[in-house]
Structure formats: structure tokens, C-alpha cells
């Protein structure tokens, strides 16, 4: 039943959109005179990774001369949860034109899901961490809206609020000197995204003309058709996104013919 293959990469796109919020943060260090002597762009990566790949890439030289370079930020998806508060009608569909193929597409309304994210900031100095955190927090009141093109084939751009839920800090400075101070800030976020089902080609295509023949009786085999109503968009080449009207035509007929859509004539 669920066999229709599709993959819009919506969750991946949400991860990318979330990541791009934090990929351009700097920290500054000053010298004894108070002049900036170092500007560091804080490295950011999606935390979970294939272990062998991480080892090969980050430790190609097995004699890694240092433990790690800091500061660093990492984030990861922590939950996928249905959001009942944003529920819409399950049978409601909408149509859109695929910009690439110009074909009509039909898709059911998306299902609202909350994606949980955890952003971790690992610094050597508390001052570094505070510089980073202060550059993030003011933008979330408590949410920041991202407009994401969730499904490319239908050009569906949705506002995805990213809500900052909490800020936690861990500063393990107590204890013996055999353990190093660990300074990690953890920010919890929720991205309110939408998951779309399969996008189907609309077999009817774009309806550009409607013809209704009216008979005096429901038995069309015996009753003659008497009136034909025709409606076409005005202008005739209007697209769904255009502002257009309709041209209506009424014709009075008195025959026993029927309209053939395939031949596009009365037979």
C-alpha cells in the first residue's frame, strides 16, 4: 500500500537550513593593548558521521600533533515528532505546476512534524563560548523563521520556524587536575517543518476549457440536449498562478448529438 517511491529530502533540507544559520560566526581575540589579534571563524559540522570516514578524513596522519582544534560547533537531529497543533485536513490536496516540466502536479497537504536539534558549542575559553552564544540568542524570540523550498518539483516554499527551547552550559572545572576543564554549551531547538507525501502527476493536466451540455431530462439517450455552457480562462494562456477571469458562452442547441472529448467535436 505504501509502495510509491518518493524522497523529497525534506528532513535533510531542514538540517541544511538549520546548519546554515550558524556557519558564519566569528570569535575575536585581543592582545595586551586591546587590539584584535585573531579572528576565528567557528567551524561547524553535523556531528554524527561514519566512524571510518571521520577517522580517515580528520586523522589521515595518525600522529595527530594535537588533541583537537577549538572552538568547534556541532549539531545533530535529536527527535522527529508529530505536531498535532498544526494538523490540516488529511484529504485536502493542492495542485502546482512543475517548473521544470510544466506539468500539473497534485499533492496532499503536508503532515506537520517537529524536528528537534541540538547545537553544541565546544570552546577552550568561556569568553569564546559567550561570544558565540551572544551572537545567536538575540535572533530567537523565541523563534526564527526560515523559508525553505521543501519540495523542488512543486516549488513549495514553507516558513519553518526554528524555536530555541533551552540553553544549557556545562563547565566542569572542579576536581583534580588529571581531568581537563570541559566547556560545552548546548542549545536545544525545534524546527517546525512539514513532510510531504508523494507528488503525483495530475492526469487531467491543466483544465483550460469546460463544456457542459444540458439536457431536459436525465435520460440523455432520449432527451435532446438543449443548452451548452462553455467556460475558458481569459486570457486563454493563463497559468494557475496568474490573475485571470473566465469567458462564458451559452449556446442553444436542439439536437441528439453528444460531444466527443477525444475527437473534440459533436458526433
Amino acid at each position: 500500500m505504501l509502495g510509491t517511491y518518493y524522497y523529497h529530502e525534506i528532513i535533510r533540507k531542514t538540517i541544511i537550513a538549520f546548519g546554515t544559520l550558524f556557519n558564519d560566526l566569528d570569535i575575536h581575540h585581543k592582545d595586551g593593548s586591546g587590539n584584535t589579534n585573531s579572528v576565528i571563524k567557528v567551524p561547524l559540522a553535523y556531528g554524527p558521521a561514519q566512524k571510518f570516514l571521520a577517522r580517515l578524513e580528520q586523522q589521515a596522519n595518525l600522529d595527530k600533533p594535537v588533541q583537537i582544534t577549538l572552538p568547534r560547533m556541532s549539531f545533530e537531529m535529536t527527535s522527529i515528532e508529530y505536531d498535532a497543533s498544526r494538523k490540516t485536513g488529511i484529504t485536502q490536496t493542492f495542485r502546482a505546476v512543475d517548473e521544470n516540466t510544466s506539468k500539473m502536479k497534485k499533492v496532499f497537504m503536508p503532515v506537520p512534524y517537529n524536528i528537534g536539534f541540538e547545537l553544541s558549542i565546544f570552546c577552550k575559553l568561556n569568553d569564546d563560548a559567550l561570544q558565540i552564544v551572544e551572537q545567536i540568542l538575540p535572533y530567537f524570540q523565541p523563534s526564527f523563521n526560515l523559508t525553505i523550498d521543501l519540495v523542488d518539483s512543486i516549488g513549495e516554499k514553507r516558513d519553518v520556524p526554528v524555536v530555541l527551547n533551552s540553553v544549557a552550559m556545562q563547565d566542569d572545572y572542579e576536581g583534580d587536575f588529571s581531568t581537563r576543564r570541559a566547556l560545552i554549551y548546548t542549545l536545544q531547538f525545534t524546527a517546525k517543518t512539514y513532510l510531504f507525501g508523494p507528488v503525483a502527476d495530475n492526469p487531467e493536466g491543466l483544465i483550460r476549457k469546460v463544456i457542459v451540455d444540458m439536457h431536459a431530462d436525465t435520460n440523455t439517450a432520449t432527451a435532446k440536449r438543449e443548452v451548452r455552457y462553455t467556460a475558458v480562462p481569459d486570457p486563454i494562456d493563463a497559468e494557475p498562478g496568474d490573475d485571470f477571469g473566465f469567458t462564458e458562452t451559452w449556446e442553444y442547441l436542439d439536437d441528439s448529438k453528444e460531444y466527443s472529448p477525444t475527437r473534440q467535436s459533436d458526433i
Binding site: 541544511i16 581575540h29 585581543k30 592582545d31 585573531s38 576565528i40 561547524l44 588533541q67 583537537i68
Partner: protein, 460 residues
């Protein structure tokens, strides 16, 4: 009850003997490590942190490796912040050797940079040459073994691999400084090569277009329009021209029309037609040299190198009346060479010999060789950085610990070497740090994100 007075519980002679024996044992069974003291550049009060440090001294010291079966610690582990190597090392050094040969030098240093001088200090580094690794002293144990003959003779340095941020390493030991070559935040500056002057030659002929007069600059152009000039009579050379557009107050119009070839053999002024480009209204006319020769073409014979802006182009004066000088403009390619020269006035009065073309010198300085670890400064940005690597083949200068961004076009000068080159491209390097994916997020997000105004967090 008092101690037995008939025995010495450690005379200075005995203590010295033990110390000498320990020193000798360390010299026999130890290895040579480099002790690198940390110097404070800026200490933050309130938060009690040393924000900036430098390591610019080194002391050779023998140390006994207390680990007998490899490093201690958690080893190589995968964390949410990438691979972290949690190797630890325990080193035993002689108290006397440290106090006699290292402490006096530390005591001579600035008190603000070295706050404790008479013992090994937590936060200092030890370069372990066997593993080519930098260890940071976490803890100095000074009472182990515990008062043998009434005295302690060694320090045990409990070390863990260093966490690197942007500390300055200038120990003068290349092996140490270079292990951090590609660590930290790196910027690759692509520099113009040493500049060489371009050369060109002119061709003269009669019946060429003298100048093009733009009567109406038009408007609404979205791309460069095409300029067509009616063909020359038989035996002549067809003239060619290009339009240069400009945008003012969001309206794009034609700024100028330049001659790629002024043509020859024209007897009447040709008609100029401007088409395409999405705009309208532009119109131009021209005048021709009928009986006197002008410059109709300038060919670049050597594009030179190191041009960042268009240099001047000058011609020797014509020899005969009316002696009207020619003028032209040079076009600079992305590679910093002169790609072509367009004529703006073909002049008049040249006789048999074409004029000599002189192209302005390349604007870049492009001299010298940057030294490893020297500070370089941008001429306009004022930003400073330390040289990590200078590749003369690719003209890429790798720098770290930058105090700001560098601008393309500015001169970057080495403080010690005096080397000065002009920056062509300044880019954060993605090759060295395999953890960071900042650029990748930006590239992928550009395809799916719709920032109606702009990304308030900045675009990478």
C-alpha cells in the same frame, strides 16, 4: 621523641649524591624533549582566562617517559566534535636540571608574560619528538617519590595532548612550528605573480573611424548590446566596436563605445547600429579619417602579468599634420594580464611608421619571499596574520591567526622578509580542516533557502 642524633636523615652531601644519580639516570634512560613555556599575551580578569598565548621559547630537557606500554588516557575517540585524541603522557624531569637551566631564563622574562618561573608550570607544553606531538602539562607532581633523604629530586609532569586554538608558535624549531602548519583557522591568499609590463603593436591605415560619438546612451539594458558598423568598401577592413554599459540609479545605459578595429578604406562615415541587450534608445555616429592615416588596430604582443587595474596606454605622436594623437584603453583579464586593447581615438597624421605603444607598468609589487611564521600586514585592511606556508609555484600564501579579513587588490607585506605581493583572491581554506562544513552548508542552503532580505547571521 626526637630523632636519633647518631644518624643523618639526609645530609646535603647525600641529597646531592642522590640528585646526581637521578640526573645521570635520566640522561641515560630518558629521551630529549622540548620544554616550551607559555607566555601570556592577554589575561582576562573576571572570567579568569588567558585569552591569547604565545610559545616562542624552547628548552631541550631530558625526561624519563613514565608510560611503559604506550600513552595513557582514553586514546582516539569519536566525539560529536569529530575525532579527538585523548593521549596522555607522564614525564619525569630532574628538579635540579630545571631549576638550574630553565628557571633562570624564565625569571628574566616579562612578569606579565611568565607569572611563575621557578618550577615547571601547568599550561606549558612539551614537544614529544617520538610521536611528533605537543603535550600540555596538566599537573606537576613534586612530591613523588616522597621526601627521600629529606628532599624531593624530580618533577613528574602529567601531560595531555594540547588543544590548539590560535596560540602563536614561533619556537624557532621548525619541526615544532610546522606540526601546526595546517591546524586552526587557515586563510589561503592567492597572490599576483611578479608583475611584468605588457607590450603591444599598432597598425595604421587611412579611411578608418576616428572616434565614435554616443548621441544617446539608451536605457533599460540587461546585458551588453551588440554594436554593428556597416561594412567597408571593397579592399577595406570592416570596423568592429563594443559597447561598455554602466548602471546608475538602477538604470543600465551605454557608457561608451570603443573600437576593437577602426577599419580601413571607408570613404564615407559608416552607420552604427546598436541592438539587443534588452534596452532601447541608444544611438551613435562616427567620423572618419579620409586622407590621413590613423591607428586602426592595436594587437597585444605580450599580455604581461600582475595587472589588477587597467593601466594607461599611450602612443607616440603622429609625424605629419594634423598630428592628432591616438588614444586607447587596455582590458585586464581575471588572470591579471592585458587581454586586449580598444581604441577610443584612432588619431590622425601618421605617415609610414606605426606609432610605438606604451602600456603602463603592472601595479603589483610582487617581490621577495615570505618567511615562515613572520607577520604579514594588509595595506588597506590593516589585518595581520602569520605565514604558515608560501608556495612560489602557485603564488598561494597560507596564513593563520589572522586579525581580520584581507581584501583582494591590497598589498600584503611581510614584516621580516619585506616581501610584498598583491592579493588576487582571499579565501578561507576548506582543505586543511576536514571537520568544518561551513562552506558546504552555505552552498547547499543557497539552493533551498529563500532569504527575502538577507541572512541575518551572515553569508559565509
Amino acid at each position: 621523641m626526637a630523632l636519633n642524633p647518631f644518624f643523618l636523615q639526609g645530609s646535603s652531601g647525600e641529597q646531592n649524591l642522590v640528585q646526581e644519580l637521578i640526573n645521570e639516570q635520566l640522561k641515560i634512560y630518558g629521551i630529549e624533549v622540548l620544554y616550551i613555556p607559555r607566555k601570556f599575551v592577554r589575561q582576562q580578569t573576571i572570567l579568569e582566562e588567558v585569552q591569547s598565548s604565545k610559545f616562542d621559547d624552547n628548552f631541550l630537557l631530558e625526561a624519563y617517559v613514565n608510560n611503559y606500554d604506550g600513552y595513557s588516557g582514553a586514546g582516539d575517540i569519536m566525539t560529536k566534535f569529530g575525532v579527538s585524541v585523548r593521549d596522555e603522557l607522564s614525564l619525569v624531569v630532574s628538579r635540579e636540571r630545571f631549576e638550574d637551566f630553565i628557571a633562570p631564563f624564565l625569571e628574566d622574562e616579562d612578569d606579565n608574560e611568565i607569572i611563575v618561573a621557578d618550577r615547571p608550570r601547568e599550561g606549558d607544553l612539551v614537544y614529544f619528538p617520538l610521536g611528533k606531538r605537543l603535550f600540555e602539562v596538566k599537573f606537576v607532581e613534586h612530591e613523588k617519590p616522597f621526601y627521600q633523604l629529606g628532599k624531593n629530586y624530580v618533577y613528574e609532569l602529567q601531560c595531555e595532548l594540547f588543544e590548539y586554538e590560535d596560540e602563536v608558535f614561533d619556537t624557532s624549531i621548525d619541526e615544532v612550528d610546522e606540526v601546526l602548519d595546517d591546524k586552526g583557522y587557515i586563510i589561503d591568499l592567492t597572490l599576483f605573480s611578479s608583475g611584468t609590463r605588457a607590450t603591444a603593436s599598432a597598425s595604421i591605415g587611412s579611411g578608418c573611424i576616428r572616434t565614435i560619438t554616443l548621441n544617446n546612451d539608451g536605457s533599460g539594458y540587461t546585458s551588453t548590446p551588440t554594436v554593428s558598423i556597416t561594412a567597408a568598401p571593397a579592399g577595406g577592413t570592416n570596423a568592429q566596436a563594443v559597447a561598455i554599459t554602466t548602471t546608475r540609479n538602477n538604470i543600465t545605459s551605454i557608457e561608451e563605445i570603443r573600437l576593437v578595429n577602426a577599419g580601413t578604406g571607408y570613404t564615407v562615415a559608416p552607420t552604427i547600429t546598436i541592438t539587443g541587450g534588452g534596452g532601447t534608445g541608444a544611438a551613435a555616429t562616427c567620423g572618419i579619417n579620409t586622407n590621413v592615416k590613423g591607428v586602426f588596430k592595436v594587437a597585444v604582443t605580450d599580455g604581461g602579468a600582475g595587472y589588477s587595474t587597467a593601466p594607461s596606454v599611450s602612443f607616440t605622436l603622429p609625424g605629419i599634420s594634423p598630428q592628432l594623437p591616438a588614444s586607447a584603453v587596455a582590458n585586464v583579464s581575471a588572470a591579471g594580464t592585458i587581454s586586449s586593447i580598444h581604441i577610443t581615438d584612432s588619431g590622425a597624421g601618421f605617415f609610414a611608421t606605426p606609432p610605438t605603444v606604451t602600456i603602463g607598468a603592472a601595479s603589483t609589487t610582487g617581490i621577495g619571499t615570505y618567511w615562515f611564521n613572520e607577520v604579514v600586514t594588509g595595506s588597506r585592511s590593516g589585518a595581520t596574520a602569520r605565514v604558515k606556508r608560501w608556495d612560489t609555484d602557485t603564488n598561494i600564501l597560507r596564513v593563520g591567526i589572522a586579525s581580520g579579513g584581507f581584501y583582494p587588490g591590497e598589498i600584503i607585506t611581510g614584516a621580516k622578509s619585506g616581501a610584498a605581493y598583491q592579493i588576487k583572491v582571499s579565501a578561507a581554506n576548506t582543505v586543511t580542516d576536514k571537520y568544518r562544513e561551513n562552506e558546504e552548508f552555505e552552498v547547499q542552503a543557497d539552493r533551498i533557502l529563500d532569504f527575502t532580505e538577507s541572512n541575518p547571521f551572515g553569508t559565509y
